[in-house]
């Protein structure tokens, strides 16, 4: 651990060892994001043929978009990690920053959609229970 005021000692790998070690877990999350996107797309086609399923179609479309966006961010992160150099981790940090932004925006957008859907269909809030 570095003392206050002193710069930390540079490690041979540039300090990305923990990220490299957690690489399989990022793949697991990527897998779940892809599954979310694909299942949501299936849900869009199923709901599209049902009468009055417009809100559900928007819900599934939104989930598919969120799953695809998060999967894209993780893909970018994994690519940056595999190409990272010990003396330059900017791309990895950019990918991590994009990931946080994607998660934050997704949560906000989905929360706004959820509140809107709950106001139009009172039963939606019960689905969380």
């Amino acid at each position: 651990m570095s003392r206050k005021g002193q710069p930390p000692k540079p490690s041979p790998s540039g300090g990305i060892d923990p990220l490299l070690a957690s690489w399989p877990w990022a793949w697991v999350v990527l897998f779940f994001c892809v599954v979310l996107a694909l299942l949501s797309l299936v849900g869009v086609f199923v709901q599209a043929n049902r009468p009055g399923g417009a809100v559900a179609v928007v819900d599934y479309l939104l989930r598919a978009a969120i799953g695809a966006a998060l999967a894209s961010c993780i893909g970018r992160y994994l690519r940056a990690l595999s190409r990272a150099k010990p003396d330059d981790r900017t791309d990895v940090h950019r990918a991590i920053a994009t990931w946080w932004m994607a998660v934050g925006v997704s949560l906000l957008v989905y929360a706004v959609y959820f509140l809107w859907a709950a106001s139009t269909r009172p039963g939606v809030a019960d689905s969380l229970r």
Binding site: P10, S11, S22, W25, D88, T90, W100, V103, G104, A111
Partner: protein, 151 residues
């Protein structure tokens, strides 16, 4: 390239993207805190309903809410660790600690998703079995050794 007599150049300051994305991390943290409160409240409601009858689906709902709350709490821990490690990006920032926090986030998120998926599938199977019992399609019989079997 640096000459032999000169000290090597320090690595470029590359924490700027992470510092710029700190507000989004706070947004994610806020949602995780809301999720913990929401799921704990759901668990409380399920536990309250259990007083009037111990149907399996109520236990499943209780476990579901508790598991989701635990996963969200784990994510909160990782995010707080990350924000503390990142600090304000001063030259003394331990970049390896930031990376360890991000690695912990991936681990908790992935393990949480796997455990929740396993629990979800198990509770679905158990609820289907409970419905079959309710409809009388299956019943439990006791063999000569006193062990119960589904028939």
């Amino acid at each position: 390239m640096s000459r032999k007599s000169q000290p090597p150049k320090p690595p470029p300051v590359d924490l700027d993207p992470l510092l710029a994305s700190r507000p989004w991390v706070w947004v994610v943290l806020g949602f995780c805190v809301l999720a913990v409160a929401f799921f704990l409240y759901g668990a409380y409601l399920a536990a309250d309903d259990l007083r009037y009858g111990g149907e399996f689906y109520l236990w499943a709902r209780l476990g579901d809410n508790l598991l989701r709350a635990a996963i969200a709490a784990g994510l909160i821990y990782c995010l707080v660790r990350y924000l503390r490690a990142l600090g304000n990006g001063s030259p003394g920032t331990d970049v390896a600690a930031v990376h360890r926090a991000v690695a912990a986030w991936w681990t908790v998120l992935a393990v949480g998703l796997l455990v929740y998926m396993a629990y979800f599938l198990w509770s679905l199977a158990m609820q289907a079995e409970a419905r079959r019992f309710d409809r009388g399609e299956v019943r439990e019989v006791r063999d000569h050794r006193g062990q119960n079997h589904v028939a």
